[in-house]
């Protein structure tokens, strides 16, 4: 008798169940904000980290992006203590760490795939809701809280009620100027910020298969914004090509077992959603949840709920105003959603030979020290600087504003990050989520533009510039 067809999620879950509802964790990523209380609790209980060799730490959430290369240089005292505490905890418990100044430091969800510690078929957790990012490589990955961080440190397992399964299938292909970010923002607009709650979501279909590895990471990254606990994409040649030669990748790659990580024909999902990729346009959020989103060609919609009314009030927007008329004060290119080298190349291509609008303050924060170095090798830093962007060092930065990179009250920002919640990027700040290309063009124009028909003149290169 043929085995019952199963999903990618089913296969990974079954391979990791130690006991019913108890999952073995192959990789635990740790950062400075959600771990200190967990290490403290271990100390109090006299427990050890069970598997330091399956654990990896970095400092990302509140590190300054001014080029500081040691924790001792962090001016903000609380941030400094937190990073120093992480360093001390890692030393005491034997956990490897890439802290400030390490050539491998960076946003935890950028460095995992970059180092190749994120691999198909693994279970991965981190005390951060954007851990679903790693699912783009065919892993099962969850964001967890600090008590769970402690549980994983002590036992290398996690208690989980089995989520329901959902597949979001994309037919067709993304049009010119429409990116992975627009695909996931458009999806959130369709399913809502609670549409994925209780589900492990598999993203599938032609448009997903055509995405680069980085584009897939962007898509899975924002699974949580739809309430989904895990987002995943079946590994394929794009995944394997990405991993080949990375520091932690096996050599040769175990392609046979990785290729088996697919949803079988006929496997059943608890919910199926279809999205027409052809119909997607560049997206811009207008409200205070990522699901409050519209095509750039639309106007700010009429509010339908008290929440939407409140959102428009907070965002200081009137229904009916064309999105392309929304003027900006700040532009932020960065975050675990869009700070990889491909994102920076795409943004640089938009700004090359152009100037940031005088009314706009724009910044680029590479996702990792490695991304920064690579961008500098390619001269992207110069492209950004010459256009008037501030070129920073790696970290979470203004995605959540735990470091000095924040919006002032009332400032309006085009941001490539993942959350437009009230005050997320600074108290009173107003965030619009967009793709790196859209953010870059918005920086030049000082307002949103439809990048599909945007082609302003470029200034000639200064002599001997590159």
């Amino acid at each position: 008798m043929a085995a019952e067809p199963t999903t990618l999620f089913d296969k990974i879950w079954a391979a990791h169940e130690v006991a019913p509802g108890l999952l073995y964790i192959d990789l635990h990523l740790v950062h400075e904000v959600t771990s200190p209380q967990a290490f403290d609790a271990l100390r109090i209980a006299g427990r050890k980290v069970r598997r330091p060799d399956r654990t990896l730490a970095t400092a990302d959430h509140n590190v300054p992006t001014d080029g500081s290369s040691r924790a001792a240089q962090i001016l903000d005292q609380l941030s400094r203590v937190q990073v120093e505490t992480l360093e001390r905890n890692c030393a005491e418990f034997g956990v490897p760490i890439y802290s400030l100044g390490s050539e491998r430091q960076g946003i935890v969800h950028v460095i995992g795939p970059e180092l190749g510690v994120t691999q198909p078929g693994m279970t991965i957790v981190c005390g951060d809701s954007h851990t679903a990012t790693h699912g783009a490589m065919g892993a099962l990955s969850f964001g967890i809280g600090t008590s769970e961080v402690e549980h994983v440190l002590a036992t290398q397992t996690l208690r989980q009620t089995r989520p329901r399964s959902m597949r979001i299938s994309y037919s067709g292909a993304l049009g010119f100027g429409v990116t992975a970010k627009d695909l996931i923002l458009g999806t959130l607009g369709q399913i809502g910020v609670e549409g994925g709650a209780g589900y492990a979501i598999e993203f599938a279909g032609e448009a997903i298969e055509r995405l680069t590895m980085e584009g897939r990471l962007t898509v899975c990254n924002m699974t949580i914004e739809g309430g989904g606990r895990a987002g995943m994409i079946a590994p394929d040649e794009t995944t394997f090509e990405w991993l080949r030669g990375r520091p932690a990748a096996p050599d040769p790659l175990p392609l046979e077992s990785w290729r088996a990580l697919r949803t079988d024909e006929g496997a059943r999902f608890d919910r199926e959603v279809h999205v027409d990729a052809n119909a997607l346009s560049p997206q811009v959020t207008w409200g205070t949840t990522p699901g409050m989103v519209a095509p750039v060609t639309d106007a700010v919609p009429e509010p339908r709920t008290p929440g939407e009314e409140r959102a428009l009030d907070y965002m200081a927007l009137e229904a009916g105003v064309p999105i392309e008329e929304i003027a900006l004060d700040r532009v932020f290119i960065g975050s675990c959603t869009n700070s990889r080298i491909g994102d920076l190349r795409a943004a640089a291509a938009m700004v090359e030979g152009r100037r940031v609008a005088p009314s706009v303050q724009a910044m680029v924060v590479p996702g990792s020290a490695n991304v920064k170095l690579q961008a500098e090798r390619e001269g992207l830093d110069e492209v950004f600087r010459r256009a008037g962007f501030d070129w920073r060092s790696a970290g979470c930065s203004m995605c959540l504003g735990m470091n000095p990179d924040i919006l002032a009250p009332g400032e309006r920002c085009a941001s490539t990050s993942n959350r437009n919640f009230e005050g997320r990027q600074g108290r009173g700040g107003r965030s619009h989520l967009v793709s790196p290309e859209m953010a870059a063009a918005a920086a030049i124009e000082g307002r949103f533009v439809d990048i599909r028909d945007w082609e302003p003149a470029r200034e000639p290169e200064p002599a001997g510039a590159r």
Binding site: A15, V18, A19, L22, Y24, D26, L27, V33, T34, P36, Q37, D53, R54, T55, L56, N62, D76, L78, V81, Q82, T85, P96, L115, G116, V117, Q119, M122, D128, S129, I144, G145, T146, S147, E148, E150, H151, A154, T155, T157, T161, V193, E194, A197, I224, G227, R229, P247, A248, T289, T305, P306, G307, R310, G401, M402, R419, F421, E422, G423, R424
Partner: protein, 186 residues
């Protein structure tokens, strides 16, 4: 962890949907390395709005998708430190729900119309043993995972329970553990 059983008394109401953890406890308070003292910063920005009124009762009744966004356990810590022992809403974000249960704060999902009815009364009793909310002379049932209920009723520590499966864990590591990156030798 303290046992959870009956939680009874006046309720506090926050009638908003999609309340994210950035509102519950803004980022500037996540820099502390302790687990305590977050209550005074609860809803830090919203608390400055005119007309804001949220008494530190034991029961908070609120809107759907409560606790969405960041996985910060600081949000449940702040709510608990402020005085809440149970939260009632039409739905909760996954990670937030899980985080609450780890610290012995009870999230209670009820149908939307029951939540609205509850918002209109002054007092309620939440009975975990019987899995009901009692208010206005009525009993409304709620659902909770049986293992989780058992753990909360008895105040059991998750890690302690898992370590009871120590043999299964060692067997898994010996026989089934996947080859994977060794972070200590990168």
């Amino acid at each position: 962890m303290d046992r959870v059983d009956k939680i009874r008394g006046p309720i506090s109401v926050l009638n908003r949907s999609d309340v994210d953890t950035d509102q519950i406890i803004p980022k500037q308070f996540l820099k502390r390395v302790e687990r305590t003292g977050f209550g005074e910063f609860l809803f830090y920005d919203w608390a400055k709005e005119p007309g804001w009124d949220l008494d530190p009762n034991e029961i908070l009744v609120t809107g759907r998708n409560f606790g969405c966004g960041s996985s910060r356990e600081h949000a449940p810590w702040a709510l608990q430190d402020y005085g809440f022992k149970a939260l009632v809403a039409p739905s909760f974000a996954d990670i937030f729900y899980s985080n609450c249960t780890k610290i012995g704060m009870l999230p209670v999902p009820l149908p939307e119309e029951e939540v609205h009815a509850l918002m209109a009364v002054a007092e309620a009793e939440i009975d975990l043993e019987d899995e009901v909310v009692r208010f206005a002379g009525r009993e409304v049932p709620f659902e909770i995972d049986p293992d989780l209920r058992h753990r909360l009723l008895n105040g059991l520590d998750d890690i302690g329970i898992t370590l009871q499966s120590g043999e299964a864990l060692e067997r898994y590591e010996a026989e089934r553990e996947r080859a994977g990156p060794v972070t200590t030798s990168l």
